[in-house]
């Protein structure tokens, strides 16, 4: 009987209130420290860091102004809709007047808590997100009125089930093959259901006018993002970590203000290009990362090592759902009818994604093509293939990607790590050797 199995929580163990409080305050303190340290390290690497970056530094604080702002807006009646990965339709959330925010966790210490429910073989991004929820750590997750959970990898599939112990969870099932005729039909149906749920929660009908305006807001964000990306194609005028931070804050910031601030940063950087005021030497090896998302703040571990290494590297591009994939693709609308706009939103979230959860007889060629294009456009000298243990889809696609990069004559290094600070020494040795190799190739 359904009623018998539905008593109490499905996964989360009972925890005493004082234990929750203690753990939350210690992990929160560690997080604030990690944010501060990352920012200091970034400033040290780039002493001439523009003042326009300070805005993003503030937004990067999970327990600061932005949290306060969201609380106030919620009190005024707005709804907050969390999402666990990039298949959630931001335009539909905005059109209903709700606030979208991504809830994946980059907290190393929270992953240890997740170990109480899941074995360590499970991807730490998932363990950490669950751990954060166990002690009510993430203000954005806590404030969410509902969570959209696209069922992409195995980790996220079960994550939604676990989160449903606490919050209304709205599943979305993306097809695993993009090109089959039924795929888009299925996906549009999923979108339609989600649209209905968003409308029901917010009590707002998504009208043609509202959707058009939301699409335009996101198109402007994409434009600002692409402007920033264009600046990374030349000699390094911004360090990779700073560009990553700007991009990642778009996941929880008020998007229109974010767009304006990103444009201000680009104004400054364009001036610097004219002055040849580079963030580091133009000879610095240009590195691209691909693989598991690197979530702020603790997963800045590898970017920190790359840009502080001796010899130094500079991150010029990535192929990650925590970075360049977030905003790169705009929704392309032919006619501003409700039907066309809705179809365009659906297609954008399915067809533009290069997630390794897809498969095809050509071997997930969209991801391969994205990588190859970026490597040429951004004059990449070497690729770091970043995988956290348990991230099976990215780990499995490595052999495929390695073969392509070998053919292009581009060095690639498979860097496997965990949500831990203990392997920094080993990571450093490998990253230094890789950059040394890139540097000696540039010398030749």
């Amino acid at each position: 009987m359904a009623s018998e199995i539905e008593v109490g929580s499905k996964y989360i163990p009972e925890m005493a209130q004082n234990e929750i409080e203690e753990l939350r305050s210690s992990i929160k303190a560690a997080s604030i420290k990690a944010i501060k340290e990352n920012l200091e390290r970034m400033k040290k690497t780039w002493p001439n860091r523009p003042k326009t970056m300070e805005y993003f530094d503030e937004i990067s604080n999970f327990f600061g102004q932005r949290e306060k702002e969201i609380r106030e807006q919620k009190e005024a009646g707005k709804k907050l809709i969390g999402y666990s990965c990039m298949f959630a339709p931001i335009e539909l959330i905005l059109a209903a007047g709700a606030i979208p925010v991504r809830i994946g966790s980059g907290w190393y210490d929270a992953a240890k808590l997740g170990d109480r429910i899941m074995p360590v073989e499970v991807c730490p991004v998932i363990r950490s997100t669950v751990g954060a929820k166990m002690v009510n750590l993430s203000p954005y997750l806590e404030l969410s009125d509902a969570i959209i959970t696209p069922l992409t990898c195995d980790g996220r599939t079960k994550l939604s089930e676990i989160l449903s112990d606490y919050k209304p969870v709205w599943y979305m099932t993306p097809p695993r093959v993009k090109d089959d005729p039924q795929s888009l039909t299925l996906w549009k149906e999923e979108m339609r259901v989600i649209k209905g749920k968003i409308e029901e929660l917010t009590g707002t009908k998504i009208t043609r006018k509202k959707l058009k305006s939301a699409i335009e807001v996101m198109q402007r964000a994409t434009k600002a993002f692409r402007r920033l990306q264009d600046l990374r194609k030349g000699p390094p005028v911004i360090m990779g970590r700073d560009a990553m931070l700007v991009t990642q804050t778009s996941l929880w910031d008020a998007i229109e203000r974010w767009t304006q601030k990103t444009d201000e940063l680009c104004d400054e950087l364009e001036k610097r290009v004219e002055q040849k005021n580079w963030a580091c030497s133009p000879d610095t090896p240009r590195v691209m990362v691909t693989g598991t998302p690197m979530l702020w703040p603790d997963s800045w571990k590898v970017p920190n090592l790359i840009e502080e290494s001796n010899p130094q590297g500079v991150l010029v591009a990535d192929e990650q759902c925590s970075g360049d994939r977030i905003l790169y693709d705009p929704v392309g609308v032919d006619e501003w009818t409700m039907r066309d706009m809705f179809n365009a939103v659906s297609e954008r979230y399915l067809m533009a994604s290069t997630c390794p959860c897809f498969t095809s007889e050509h071997g997930n060629e969209d991801r391969v093509n994205w990588l190859m294009d970026r490597i040429k456009e951004y004059k990449v000298d070497g690729v770091i293939y970043y995988v956290v243990r348990g991230c099976i889809l990215y780990a499995m696609e490595y052999a495929r990607i390695k073969r392509i990069l070998d053919r292009m004559g581009l060095p690639v290094y498979y860097l496997d790590t965990e949500y831990t600070r203990e392997d920094v020494g080993q990571m450093k040795t490998r990253i230094e050797a890789f950059l040394e190799m890139l540097e000696s190739r540039i010398d030749i």
Partner: protein, 260 residues
Amino acid sequence: MISAGIDMGTQRVKVVILKDNQIIAQNQQFSGFEPTKAAEQAFQEALQNAKLSREDIQHVTATGTGVEMATFADSTISMMGADARAGAYFFSSARTVIDVGAEEARAVRCDEKGVMLDFVVNARCAAGAGTFIEAMARALEVELDDMGSLSLKAERASPINASCVIFAESDVVSLIHREEPKTEIARAIFDAIAERISSMVLRLGINPDIVLVGGVAKDAGFVASLKRRLGTEILIPEEPLYAGAVGAALIAAKRAGRRQ
């Protein structure tokens, strides 16, 4: 041109002094609890052997796990970079250099100039490195140096599932209880390490000639197992333990030359 290379290994510190790219002195010390002191001592003794003083050395480059403890070095180089350089120095035909040390194994692909082209590391696992042989020698109650000759007498290897030092040790204990000959257990141990190392090398592809360096290269039992697994000849320099230090010293000479 006189240069020096220091390899700050997990177990030993090695120092090599080069004059016009020829080795004129070398020394090694146990790293112990104070690797910085060990490095200074090894450096001093090497200087004495070469009848030189610190001022005669134009550039010192350090490498190895404890590279940051070599406080008196002028520059550093990664272990993989040093291996590649040393491999091509010992054998101009070297295209792959395998380095098996106390706690880590690596393989590096290089070109004829000793420039590293690709590398793989077997870290976070002691089953592919020297300390594994030490642990197994203890379990078998034989001297470490006798393990190699013991294994070479075996006609077959005992079956062990040595994916991990801890599990392998209990495997070995049960083999001893079953009264398997020590020779065959010893061979099984070397086969197990060679298996791990060769699967690591295969990730780079087999690019001959293959050069083996690091302390474990001196162990005839391991070398025989690795040759069998890889199915190719393996070149070993006279002093494989010093390869990292030689590579670092070659880099030091190049860097000193560049500054002049």
